[in-house]
Amino acid sequence: MQTLKRIALVAAAALLAATIVPLRPVAADSLYDELGQKAGITKVLVDMVGFIADDGRINHFFAHADIPHLEGELVDQVCYVSGGPCTYTGKSMQDAHKGMDIKEADFNALVEDLQKAMYKNDVPLPVQNHLIAALAPLFDSVTYK
């Protein structure tokens, strides 16, 4: 009985901790602003594409890519995901990555290149984290296709 009470207490505390911390405390539209709107997003993503080009782990995926087109699509997508006034008109994520067999390590390598690009552009850590949280669910639609 004593044990059950203690478990209930621990569970209640954990639940409380989980509810007072909302999943994404910053509203979606302010993430777009915090990233510096379209200009800021473009700078980060152009730098990211540069880091990817030098990243031996994943640059082979982009060997035949039309880089300006890719940059445009990435900017549109991040603009859209962060709540900005953009529409992503490219292929669905599943279709765009079909047959590429992108693995978890490849996805993570791209995340690291994105982080490097955000650091280079002095994006504050909370803004970096919010963008990564917004993009993380893409894992399922991008990898192992």
């Binding site: 203690r6 621990v10 954990a14 901790a17 978890e104 390590a105 984290n129 993380a136």
Partner: protein
């Protein structure tokens, strides 16, 4: 005291570890810190609580692992733990750890005298145990599932064998005198871990809850279960209404101040079955530092609750065993 058999076991474990680390040359695809550190029983987690994360730097296509050493320095006790783990495809974790609790002569000398044993019989007393662990990730992904509240959930087992149940004095050992029933036991646990990216005012938050079925006294260092009769001290038996497995709750929370540094705290309930001792919850507050995927350092202030401090007029006296916790991990 390390016996030859145990030494062989350790050598085999280390050889397996080295062999697998060669085969897993391509591990390292995981994001920084997402394998956690190694807790006192050798499982991936924080300091004292196992988490649902699978150890190592591997992804679901790779094999990785860790090796670690932990020391907790308390006024009259020291706990040393060394071990290694293999993480297979971010699905299965196999681990080994050896714990040694050193007891200061401040504690043992009065007991030595009270029991009228030859001088220094109990000097340099240590209690050691082996912990073999396995952890299977059932479902969920603590990192990528940011659009849902569902945690990563893993099922774990820790099989422990105490070497010193019967070894001191050539007659019996500390756990048996204190009323423990068995020299070995097996814990089962379910761990729920969620990383909320940006979840603490923009900083990354890790929340973990673990439910454990156990009959280990002080995590097994004082043996397993409790005896209904005791040939050495007749009163040192089960507390009324205790004995056998009980369910214990454990929790951890940590915030990453930056990608390399996490600040956290933990709480771990313990069974309290032995009349001879008073087992309290274990707790800690910690700072974990990840300079790279391959290295982690943990500095903590830990409390292992009340441990025996000697013999007084009313029997065994107790004191809070609190102290500095230092742990280093290499991962591949």
């Amino acid at each position: 005291m390390i016996k030859t058999g145990k030494t062989h076991l350790l050598v085999i474990a280390m050889a397996t570890f080295v062999l697998l680390s060669c085969q897993a040359a391509f591990a390292g695809g995981r994001l920084l810190a997402t394998g956690g550190v190694t807790q006192v029983e050798g499982s991936a987690g924080a300091g004292i609580v196992p988490w649902a994360l699978i150890s190592g730097t591997e992804t679901q296509d790779e094999v990785g692992g860790t090796a670690f050493y932990t020391h907790i320095a308390m006024p009259n006790y020291g706990l040393d733990v060394a071990g290694a783990s293999i993480g297979i495809k971010e699905r299965l974790e196999l681990s080994y750890a050896r714990q040694t609790l050193s007891i200061d002569d401040n504690v043992t000398t009065p007991i030595n005298t009270a029991l009228a044993l030859p001088t220094n019989t109990l000097s340099n007393t240590t209690l050691s145990q082996d912990v073999f662990g396995a952890k299977l990730k059932l479902f969920g992904n603590a990192v990528y599932d940011q659009n849902s509240m569902l945690p990563q959930i893993s099922l774990g087992v820790q099989h422990k064998t105490n070497d010193d149940f019967k070894s001191v004095l050539g007659i019996t050992g500390v756990p048996e005198v204190l009323g423990a029933k068995n020299p070995s036991g097996t814990d089962f646990y379910l761990a729920f871990t969620k990383i909320f990216i940006g979840g603490a005012g923009g900083l990354n938050l890790v929340v973990n809850g673990t439910i454990r079925e156990t009959e280990a006294n002080e995590n097994g260092l004082l043996g397993f279960g409790c005896a209904t009769t005791n040939a050495f001290v007749p009163t040192f038996v089960c507390k009324p209404g205790t004995g056998g497995y009980s369910t214990q709750g454990e929790g951890s929370a940590a915030v990453f101040l930056n990608p390399q540094t996490a600040l956290g705290g933990e709480y771990r309930m313990m069974p309290d079955d032995l009349v001879s001792t008073q087992q309290d919850a274990w707790k800690d507050v910690f700072v974990a530092y990840f300079p790279s995927k391959e290295f982690a350092l943990v500095l903590a202030y830990a409390s292992l609750g009340n441990l025996p401090a000697g013999i007084g007029a009313n029997g065994i006296t107790k004191e809070q065993a609190n102290g500095l916790y230092l742990s280093g991990q290499i991962g591949f």
